[in-house]
Amino acid sequence: MSRNSEPMQSRAAVLAGVAATAALCLWGALETYGFERAYQQQNRDPYMVEAQFARLAGIAATVPENAVMGYLTDAQDGSAGASAMLAGAQYVLAPRLLARGTGHEWVLGNFARPADFAAVGRSHGLELQQDFGNGAVLYRHEAPR
């Protein structure tokens, strides 16, 4: 026999409590559905990672999968935007490995603003291989290291 210290509830109270619990859960599930639908719709791909597949498709087609690529950007180092740009590009270009700096044969230029990308490359000793648009640029060292 259990050592219940609490007084026992009537059958009606128990049934009402169980029904209330189930009803509250149904309400919670509907609230969750409404919230999630609105939230996901309003926060659709906030870092635009999906868009990177199209934006970096030309680079993925050109650079071999086993390459370690350098990485050049105009985003402010340490900012959330810079982190998102690097992480998004790394995900899309994997298994190619992106390493900050320009000390590799292939270098990804990942720019947020328009600029003279050829000149930017030259200032780092890089030759512009191809400008794929939308700030996606492929550089290559003139003398591969």
Partner: protein
Amino acid sequence: MTGLAWVAEAVLLGCLLSWRWIGLSAIKPAWARVLLRAGAGAAGGMGLVSCLFFLLGVLAGSPAAAMVVELALLAWAALDLFRRRGSAPRMGVAAGRTPVLLAVSAVLVVAIATGAIAAGWQFNPLGNWDAWAIWNLRARFLASGAGLASRAWSPALGQMTHPDYPMLVSALVGRCWAFSHSVSPIAPQAVGYAFFLALLALVGGGVAALRGPVLGLLAALVLAASPALVHEVPAQYADVPLACYFAGAAVFAMLDEPIAGGILAGFAAWTKDEGALFLVVFGAAILIFRRQAFSRAAAGAMPGIALLVVFKLGLAHANSSSLLASSLPGAAQRVTEGSRYGAILASFGRELAGLGVGWYHPVLPLAAAALALRFDRSRAREAAFAGVVALGLLAGYFGVYSVTSNDLAWQLQTSLGRLLVQVWPLLLLAAFACLRVPQLAAATPVPRKRKAAVKERRTRA
């Protein structure tokens, strides 16, 4: 074969093995037994194939060998189960009747939760930040073969990608992509959803086995209607798998199946760094409450622990980004700053409130059930086991926040909500383990006047 089919194959393999090896034949009601075996099978199967793929497909460099071993295991388990069909003893204590309306409500709530999760799949198919910056990024490396898999833990990835994090989820998703020759987002979506269903099955089935069908269904209902948990499923992070392993390990320990509990605890350690803390807390709780089961639980956890040690010390030791290790310098000064504790406590309060949505909070149905059914003190020990594990984890998380060298506000804001999601099923398990079984409550002692009237009527008759 698509990535989805390979997730299904992992679940099927785990289910067949759990049907064969976990001795739950005495458990009633039958659906609780089915849920427990399916939940343990899904979680265990996905953990098993993750380990196999990491060992054979990644370290030995032969994904084909991993696939062959898996399929051979599947064929053997299916054949063995077929040979043994009908031989399992059907015994055990009588369980209360399963209320059909409650079961229908549970199915309905799971269906609505699935709709909410599907919204995430529709609008954010790649998941949230950590999915594509950590877990699935490393899965892409693991799936690439050709000697490139080791890039998944390369120091070149930088601290942002946490290349030393345990590999269960990444290896599982990478396996699906490698076997299907496709990097479809359906595989990580299906993995997250399978762990969500396994979690519901383990908690619902576990509470039903321990405390009867009504409480089991109520526990599953409350869990499936937990907005923060549902929100994490389409994120494709490792927190829902981890919550599943935490709850599964506790359930099987409470059902006196310590080996199965240990296996799931080992998989928790192979899922995320918090899993290592769980191993310590879980082991301590078993030593306190179920000392005789400790050695069997430890034996069950060994494969997961061994794989974690090989990975952390042998492969990823050069790029450790462990929050605790990186926080040690200057920790002595930080722990003396009283304002940190206030900030952490306030954040715990905020995030606990944030487990709900709008006016709804999952504590509401739990409170309704507790008010109606009351507590059964004779079950305090079972509740204490799950409660100690949950509180031990929360205390550990609190301790890490108190010493972290990262910006405290940022750290709390970006992680605490997910940590509470990991622990929430354990808290529910503790609460439902000590609620009074409704049949007991319904068998109310008849008041004296009514008792006398009944006696009188019987005498007349």
